[in-house]
Symmetry: D2
Subunit: 244 residues, 4 copies
C-alpha cells in the first residue's frame, strides 16, 4: 500500500512535531507520483531496481535543507547518511568513492525513456494496470491486503491467501510450473500474502501473462484474467494511443 | 502448417522420380521434430532467427550425398548453393568468406540450451503451446488456416479473419494498443489471415500474454485465453516439472 | 595497397570500353576517402566488419544507373547481384528477406560515430597511423609490399618477410606470445607477407601496442616502435586536438 | 606500494597489541598474492573493479573470528561493518538487502577466468608487467614513488614528476592527445605523481600502448617503451607459453 505522504506532513506540522520526515520510495519512484519538495519530505530513499528499470546497485537520497542542517549538527555516527562529502564532490561532477559507473549510464537512459513517455502517462499506465490487478484479485474471490482504496499501491498488490493455504507454497508451485517469481510476505505477513509487482517496464500483455500465472496456480475461483482483460480492453479503447 | 516430410519422400521414391527433395525448416527447426537424414531429404534450409533463438543473420544448409553429386555436375550458376568451397574449409574449421562470428558464438550457446532442456522436451513444450493456441482460436469462433490436423504446425498458427475484416488492420490495432507484432498473411492470404508465432524461447506466460493481446483486439467472441489457460493448467499438472 | 579509382575510370572512358567498373571497398570504406558517384564507379561492394566498426554479417552494394540497366537486361542468373527486389522494398523501408536486424542498429550507431568525428578527421587519423606503420616497417629494415607510394593503403599495410622466414610461422609466434592476430598473405603471397590492420575504431596507443607486438616477434632490427612514436608525438603536437 | 602484511602481523603479535588488523586490497586482490587467513588479517576490504575485472559496484569483507567477536560486543554504531545479518542470510544463499545481481554473475565469470589461468600465472603476469613499467620509468629518468624494492606494487606504479612539472597537467595532456586516463596523486601527493595501473585484464601489448602514451606525453628522456619491450620480449622467450 502507499502512504498519504502530504497528509502525514500536514499532521506532523499541525502537531508542531520536530521529527524529520523520511520516505522509502524504493518500490514506487517513477511508477507512482511522488513529490519530495512539494510534499515537504526531509529524506527520500530510492533505488535503481524498480521503477527506474535498472539492475540493482544504486541507491539515492533526496535531502531537505532541514535534514542537512540536522545532519551537520548531529553527533551520531553515520556512513550511508553522511552526505557532506558527496554533496561537495557533486558540484564538480565527481564522487568521493568509486561509483557503480555502468548503472549511471543506465540511469541516464532510463530517465530519458521516462521523459519520452512523459511522467503523467507513466503514472496513468501503472494506475490502469493496478486497477486490472485488483479486479482480477476480486474475481478470484481473494482479498487485497490494503483495506483503504485511497492507499492502494499502483506498483505492487499484496494478496491475502485464503485461510489454510501457505502463500510461500503457492509461490514455489508457480515458480516451478510457470517460471514466474511472485513477491513474498515480509515479517508478520510471511506465508499469508503473496505480492504481484506491476511497476517499471511493464505493459498490458506482461500483466496478462502475470495474472495468468497466478490464476493457473492459485487454489480458488477463476475469472481474474478475464476481469483484468475486460478492464484493459475497455480502458485501451478510452485512451486509444500506444499503451506503452 | 507443416508438411509430412517422410511421406512425401516415400511418394517421390514410389514414383521413381529423380527430383532432389528440398525442405524449408526456417520456422520450425529446433521447435518441431525434424530428421534430415532419416527422412531422406536432399537439401534442408534453416535460419538462426526462429527456433534457434538468435538474431537473424545466419542460414544453414544440410546437404545429402545425392544433392552434392548433383551440384558437382550441374551447369547452372550458383552462389548460395555453391557448397564446395565451404565444405573444403569446414574440414579445418575455417570459412571461405568472413562469417557472422558473433552469431556463431550465440549458436554455440543456443545449441547448449536446447541440449540442456532436451529436444524431446523442447518439442513437447511447443506441441503443448500450439494445442493451447488452437483451443483459443476455436473458442474465439475463428478458423485455423490448416484444415488437416496432422499438418498443424506446432511453431506457428495462421488464423482466418472473419469475412469483411482486414487482418492487417487488426495487426495494426494490436501493435499500437498492445505493443505486439503478429505475423502477416503472405501472397494470396494477404489481409485474410494473421499468424501467431509460438516457437523458440517461449513459455506458458508468454503464450498467455500473446493470446490476451489477440483476444483484446480481435472482433469476435471471447473465451480463447480461458480455453488456453485451462489446457495449460491441466497439462502442467499432468507434467509437473518445470515447463520451460 | 589502394587503387587509383578515379584514374582507372578515366582510362576506361578514354578507351571507350563498355565494361562495368566494380570496386571492392571492404577493407577501406569509412577509413579511407571513397566516392562512388564522383569517381564513376558502377558497383561498389562493402562490408560491416572493418571501417564500419561492426561485427561481420552485413554487406552492401552501391549501384550506378548503368549497372542497374545492365542488370535488368542481363541473362546471367544471380542471387547476390539481384537488386530489383531489394530496391523495390527499400522504398517502404522493408527488406525482401529477413535482414540481420541487430547489425542494422549497430550500423545506425557507427554512422553516427563517424559523422560525429567527421569523415575528414577519420581519414586524417588513419593516414597518420598508416604513416607511423610505414616508418616502423622501414626502421625494422623490412619492405612494404606496395612499391608505389601513392597507392599505399591507409587501412592495411602488408609487410614482406626477409627471405628464408615464413610469415605464417611469425604470425603464430606473435599470436601465442602476445595475443595479437596479424593478417595472412593470400594467394601467391601466402607465407611471404603479413598484414597489419590499422582501420576502423583505432587510436594511437592501439597502434603502439600493435607495433610493439610485431617488433617483439619479428626476426630483424628494432627501432620501429620508436620511429612510429616519434611520428605520432610530432603529428599530435601539430594537430593538438583529441586524436580519436 | 604494497605493505608487508605478514611482517606487520608478526610485529603486532610481538608487541602483544590487541588491535584488529585491517587490510585494504582494493587495488591488488587477484593481481598480487594475498592470504587473509595465513597472514592473520582480521578484516580485508576488496572491490569488484580492479583485479576482479568487473565494473565497480561490489565490495567484499573477509572477517576473522576475532573481528567477528569484537563486532558482536562492540557498542559503536555501524552499517557497512554490520556483518551479522549478511552472515545469517549467506547460509541459505540469500542477501539481507537487494544485491547488485548483475555483478554477481560477472563475479562468477571473473573467478572462473582467474582459476582457468591459475593464480600463480596471474600473479607472475602482473609481476612481469610491473617490472617492465619500472624499467620504463628508470629509462625516462624519473623516480618511482616507492623507495623500497620489496614494497613495489605489481598492480600500480606511482611516478614522481620532475620538479616544476604538474602531474595533473600531464594527465590532462595525455588524456586529450592519447585518450588514456592515468591515475592522479592523492592527498599530499596531488600534482606530484601520476599513477600507471597495470592490473586485472591486462596483457603485453596493452602495457606497450600504455607506456607509449606516457612516453609521448612526459617531458623527459625517451627510451622507456624500448626498455619495457626488451624486458617483455626477453621474459616471453624465457616463459614461451601464452602470456595472457
Amino acid at each position: 500500500m502507499t502512504s498519504r505522504i502530504a497528509a502525514i506532513r500536514k499532521a506532523i506540522d499541525a502537531a508542531r512535531h520536530p521529527a524529520l520526515y523520511m520516505v522509502d520510495t524504493i518500490s514506487s519512484l517513477a511508477s507512482i507520483d511522488y513529490r519530495h519538495d512539494e510534499w515537504g519530505v526531509d529524506v527520500t530513499v530510492a533505488g535503481s531496481q524498480k521503477g527506474l528499470m535498472l539492475p540493482p546497485g544504486l541507491s539515492f537520497n533526496a535531502v531537505s535543507e532541514k535534514a542537512l542542517r540536522a545532519s551537520q549538527g548531529a553527533k551520531l555516527p553515520r556512513s550511508y547518511w553522511s552526505w557532506e562529502e558527496i554533496i561537495a564532490n557533486n558540484k564538480t561532477g565527481f564522487f568521493p568513492y568509486t561509483p557503480a559507473t555502468n548503472l549511471l549510464y543506465g540511469l541516464h537512459e532510463s530517465l530519458a525513456m521516462l521523459m519520452e513517455e512523459g511522467l503523467a502517462k507513466v503514472f496513468a499506465r501503472h494506475a490502469r494496470h493496478a486497477e486490472g490487478v485488483r479486479r482480477a484479485v476480486r474475481a478470484w474471490g481473494l482479498e487485497i491486503l490494503c483495506a483503504v482504496p485511497e492507499e492502494y499501491s499502483n506498483s505492487l498488490t499484496a494478496v491475502m491467501m485464503p485461510a489454510g493455504h501457505d502463500a510461500d507454497a503457492l509461490r514455489r508451485v508457480i515458480l516451478e510450473a510457470y517460471d514466474m517469481s511472485l513477491g513474498t510476505g515480509l515479517g508478520k505477513l510471511a506465508g499469508k500474502v503473496f505480492r504481484i509487482g506491476h511497476l517499471g517496464d511493464f505493459n498490458d500483455l506482461m500483466l496478462a501473462g502475470t495474472l495468468a500465472g497466478v490464476e493457473m496456480g492459485v487454489p480458488h475461483k477463476k475469472g481474474g484474467v478475464l476481469a483484468a482483460l475486460d478492464h484493459l480492453a475497455e480502458s485501451a479503447r478510452a485512451a486509444p494511443r500506444k499503451a506503452a
